[in-house]
C-alpha cells in the first residue's frame, strides 16, 4: 500500500460539485480521503505543497487511438497510457480500429489486460459497432461490455447504413452505453483530403464539404430521437453541426458531442504549404466554425473536449498531401492548447475547462473519475496553469510526433498525475514510469 499523500494549499477545482477553493486534498488507500482547509495528515503521510497550483480530478479523454494490436510501432496501450498521464489524463477510451478490429470480448479483454499491465492511465476499450467495422453485422455489444467496453464505435469510418445505426442505438440501450459515431457521408467525402473551401481550391486539393458531416449529424440525431438511444458525436467540426445538436438537445434527444483542441484552434489555412500535420478527418474548417465550436463548448451544446489522439509514423506523414494519412497526436498538448487558447483567450474559465475535460466526459461515458468527492478513486491531476513551455515533439512520451503544434508557445501543464492514488506522472521530479 502506498503512503498517504497530502496535497497542501492548492486551488482545488472540482466541477462535479461546483467546488473551487484553496484547500488540502488527502489521498489514502487510493481514494480521496478528505478535501478541506488545513487538513491534519496521519503519521507517515507524504506532504506535498502545491500552493499556487491547481488540484483537479484527472482529465478524461473519450477518444484516442492506441494502435495496439496491429501497429505497435506507432503506439501501444502502454506508450499511449504514458503519454496520457504526462498530459494530465487519468483515463482514456481506446477506439477499436485496431488490427484486428476490437470487435469481440477477447479483443476487448486484451486491451484491459494491457492497460492493467502498464499501470498508468486507465484505458477503457471502445468496442466496434459492426463486425470488422465493415458496417454490416452488429458486433456482440453485451459480451464486449462484459469484458470492459464502455461504448461502441466504428470510428475511423462512419456507420454508413442508417438501418445499422438505428439497430445499434436500440440494441445499445440494454447495456447503457453510448454509440459514438464518426459523422461523415462517405459519398460526399470520398477522395477529400481537406475542408472544401477557398484554400482547397487554391491548393488544388479535393475538399470535404461541411455538409458531409452535417448530414450524418442530422441523421444520427433523428435516429437517437427515434430509438431513445444515446448517440455520441465524435470530433465535431462545423457550425452547422453545432446548430443541429442544439436543436436536438432542445427536443430532449439523447445526444452528446465532443470537439478536439485542434478544431477549436486551427483553420484550413494550416494546410497551406501542403503541411501534412494539418491533415485530419474531419478536416480543419473555417474561422466561423472555430468560433461556433468555442461558443458551443462554453454553453454546453458540445459536452466535452477529446483529443482524437492519432499517432502516425514520421515517414507516413512525409509524403504528398493526398498520400499522407489523416490524424495527429494530442494527449500531451490537449490541456495546454485548450488552456492557452480558451482560458487565457477568455472563452472558458479554468473550472469550465476542467469540467469539459474531466467531469463531463466521465459522466457521459459513465466512467469513474471526474470528481474529487470523498470516497472516489484518487484520479487526480495537479496542474500548473502558469507554466510556459514550447512544444517539442522529440520530448513526447507517445511513440509518434505528428503534431501541427510544433514550436508553439503554450501555457499550462500537468505537474503530477495520480491514478488510484499512485503517482503515474511527476513532472516536477523524475518521471515515474511503471513500478
Amino acid at each position: 500500500m502506498t503512503r498517504p499523500l497530502l496535497l497542501q494549499g492548492g486551488r482545488v477545482i472540482d466541477p462535479s460539485r461546483g467546488f473551487d477553493q484553496t484547500a488540502d486534498v488527502l489521498v489514502t488507500d487510493g481514494k480521496i480521503a478528505a478535501v478541506g482547509p488545513s487538513l491534519t495528515a496521519p503519521a507517515g503521510t507524504e506532504v506535498r505543497s502545491v500552493a499556487g497550483k491547481v488540484v483537479a480530478p484527472g482529465l478524461v479523454d473519450v477518444h484516442v487511438h492506441l494502435r495496439e494490436p496491429g501497429n505497435e510501432d506507432e503506439e501501444t496501450v502502454a506508450s499511449g497510457a504514458r503519454a496520457a498521464v504526462a498530459g494530465g489524463f487519468t483515463a482514456v477510451c481506446a477506439m477499436p480500429n485496431t488490427d484486428p478490429v476490437t470487435d469481440n470480448q477477447a479483443a476487448v479483454g486484451f486491451i484491459v489486460r494491457q492497460s492493467v499491465r502498464a499501470g498508468l492511465a486507465r484505458v477503457y476499450p471502445i468496442g466496434a459497432v459492426s463486425v470488422g467495422q465493415r458496417g454490416e453485422q452488429l458486433a456482440e455489444f453485451g459480451e464486449m461490455v462484459g469484458a470492459g467496453a464502455v461504448a461502441v464505435s466504428d470510428d475511423g469510418r462512419p456507420v454508413a447504413s442508417s438501418h445499422l445505426m438505428r439497430t445499434a442505438l436500440e440494441y445499445a440501450r440494454t447495456f447503457g452505453i453510448p454509440v459514438a459515431d464518426h459523422c461523415e457521408d462517405p459519398t460526399l467525402a470520398a477522395g477529400g483530403v481537406m475542408h472544401e473551401g477557398l484554400v482547397a481550391a487554391r491548393l488544388g486539393l479535393k475538399g470535404i464539404p461541411a455538409a458531409a458531416e452535417e448530414i450524418m449529424v442530422g441523421r444520427d440525431c433523428l435516429l437517437a430521437g427515434l430509438t431513445g438511444g444515446h448517440v455520441h458525436l465524435c470530433h465535431m467540426s462545423t457550425r452547422g453541426s453545432v446548430e443541429l445538436i442544439r436543436r436536438a438537445k432542445e427536443q430532449g434527444i439523447r445526444v452528446t458531442a465532443e470537439v478536439t483542441p485542434h478544431h477549436l484552434t486551427l483553420t484550413d489555412h494550416a494546410c497551406e504549404g501542403y503541411d501534412t500535420h494539418a491533415k485530419m478527418n474531419p478536416p480543419l474548417r473555417e474561422a466561423a466554425d472555430v468560433a461556433a465550436l468555442r461558443a458551443a463548448l462554453k454553453d454546453g451544446v458540445i459536452d466535452c473536449i477529446a483529443s482524437d489522439h492519432a499517432p502516425h509514423a514520421y515517414d507516413e506523414k512525409e509524403a504528398a498531401f493526398d498520400d499522407a494519412p489523416f490524424g495527429i497526436v494530442g494527449l500531451e498538448t490537449a490541456f495546454a492548447v485548450a488552456h492557452t487558447e480558451l482560458v487565457r483567450g477568455g472563452v472558458l474559465t479554468l473550472p469550465e475547462l476542467i469540467a469539459r475535460m474531466s467531469t463531463e466526459p466521465a459522466k457521459i461515458f459513465h466512467l469513474p473519475g471526474g470528481t474529487l468527492v470523498v470516497g472516489a478513486p484518487a484520479d487526480v491531476v495537479v496542474l500548473d496553469p502558469a507554466a510556459p513551455w514550447t512544444v517539442e515533439p522529440a520530448t513526447f512520451h507517445s511513440k509518434c510526433r505528428n503534431t501541427p503544434f510544433t514550436g508553439r508557445a503554450l501555457t499550462g501543464r500537468a505537474l503530477l498525475t495520480l491514478v488510484a492514488g499512485k503517482t503515474a506522472h511527476d513532472g516536477a521530479g523524475a518521471d515515474s514510469t511503471a513500478p
Binding site: A200, G204, P209, D315, A319, F321
Partner: protein, 320 residues
C-alpha cells in the same frame, strides 16, 4: 538590379509579375534556336537533368526534352511504369536516390497536388513543376502568356476566359495567377459541377453560359474535358457537354470581335471544341506548342543561373 527565380519553379501563385515577365522576355531569343537547321546551343552543356514523370504525358515531356537537348543538357527520362516507383518506392526515397546521383535539375510531373514543392524542399537540385495534381502547371501557363502576348502585343487589359473543367485543372489555376498578375481580366466558364467553390474570390468572373463568355472575351482558353469526369458523374454526357458548352463556329460568329482560340491539348474534337474552331483562322493552338519549347528553354536557362541579358549571347555559346 537582377531578378532571380529562386531555386525552383513550382507555380505562378507566389511569383512576382517581374519574375513572370523575365521568363517571357528570356524566351524571346530562344524562339529562334528552334528555327535553325542545327537546333542546339551550348548554354547547359555538362548539366544533367532528370525528367521524372509519374503521370503519362506526351506533349509536355517531349517539349521539356527538346528544350533540354537544344540547350545541350544531358537528360534522363524516368516514367512511373517500369521504374522503382511502380515497385512501391516513396516519393521522398525517389528524390533522395536522384540526389545521390548528383544531378542538377529535376522536371517532375506527379498526380498529387504539392508533390513538386515537396520534392523541391527536400533536394538541392533545381525542381521544375511539369504539373502536380490539380495544383499548378506553370510552364503551360507561361507558354499561354507568351502566345497571348505574341498575338495581341500585350496582356494587360485583355479579357481571357478559361472554359471547361476548372475544378480539376492545374492549367486553369496557373493561368489565373499568371494572367491576373500581368493585368488581364480573367473569366471562367463551365458547369457549376466543374467549378471550385469560392473561385470568384480569386478575382475571376464566372460565366455559367458559353454564349456570355464569348460575348465578353478577347481570348478563349479551352480546357480539355477528361472522359473520366462523365464516369464520376460531374456531367451527364459528352454529347450534352458539347451542346451546352462546346466552342463552335456558330457561337463564335455572334461575337462582336474575333476571338483568339487556345487549347493546352490534347484536344477532344467535337467535345469541348469544334474542329472548325480548332483549325480555324483565330486558333493559336500550334503556336502554343512552338512557344512551349522556348519558354521551357528560358526556365531551364534561368534556373541554371543563366543571366537574362546574356540569353542572346548564350545562343552563340558565350554565356557559360
Amino acid at each position: 538590379m537582377t531578378i532571380s527565380l529562386g531555386k525552383d519553379l513550382i507555380g505562378l501563385e507566389h511569383m512576382t509579375p517581374e519574375q513572370i515577365r523575365l521568363i517571357l522576355d528570356t524566351a524571346e531569343p530562344f524562339k529562334e534556336v528552334s528555327e535553325r537547321p542545327i537546333k542546339k546551343v551550348p548554354a547547359l552543356r555538362g548539366k544533367t537533368i532528370v525528367n521524372l514523370f509519374f503521370e503519362a504525358s506526351t506533349r509536355t515531356r517531349i517539349s521539356f526534352e527538346f528544350a533540354e537537348k537544344r540547350l545541350s543538357a544531358d537528360t534522363v527520362n524516368v516514367a512511373a511504369t517500369g521504374s522503382s516507383v511502380s515497385k512501391g518506392e516513396t516519393l521522398v526515397d525517389t528524390a533522395r536516390n536522384l540526389e545521390a546521383m548528383r544531378i542538377d535539375m529535376v522536371v517532375i510531373r506527379h498526380g498529387s497536388s504539392g508533390a513538386a514543392g515537396f520534392l523541391g524542399q527536400r533536394i538541392r537540385s533545381n525542381v521544375i513543376n511539369a504539373g502536380d495534381g490539380k495544383h499548378e502547371h506553370p510552364t503551360q501557363a507561361l507558354l499561354d502568356l507568351l502566345t497571348i502576348r505574341d498575338k495581341h502585343g500585350k496582356i494587360e487589359g485583355l479579357k481571357v476566359c478559361l472554359v471547361g473543367d476548372v475544378l480539376h485543372s492545374r492549367v486553369a489555376r496557373s493561368n489565373i495567377w499568371g494572367l491576373t498578375k500581368l493585368g488581364a481580366h480573367v473569366g471562367v466558364c463551365g458547369p457549376h459541377t466543374l467549378m471550385p467553390r469560392g473561385i470568384e474570390e480569386l478575382g475571376v468572373t464566372f460565366f455559367p453560359r458559353i454564349e456570355e463568355a464569348i460575348e465578353w472575351a478577347d481570348v478563349l482558353n479551352v480546357l480539355r474535358l477528361q472522359l473520366e469526369r462523365m464516369e464520376k458523374g460531374f456531367i451527364p454526357s459528352l454529347r450534352e457537354y458539347y451542346r451546352v458548352w462546346g466552342v463552335t463556329p456558330e457561337r463564335l460568329e455572334r461575337s462582336p470581335r474575333p476571338i483568339t482560340i487556345m487549347h493546352p491539348g490534347p484536344m477532344n474534337r467535337g467535345v469541348e471544341i469544334d474542329s472548325r474552331v480548332a483549325d480555324g483562322p483565330h486558333s493559336v493552338i500550334l503556336d502554343q506548342v512552338t512557344n512551349g519549347v522556348a519558354v521551357r528553354m528560358a526556365v531551364l536557362y534561368l534556373l541554371a543561373g543563366g543571366r537574362p541579358e546574356l540569353a542572346d549571347a548564350a545562343k552563340r555559346g558565350g554565356a557559360e
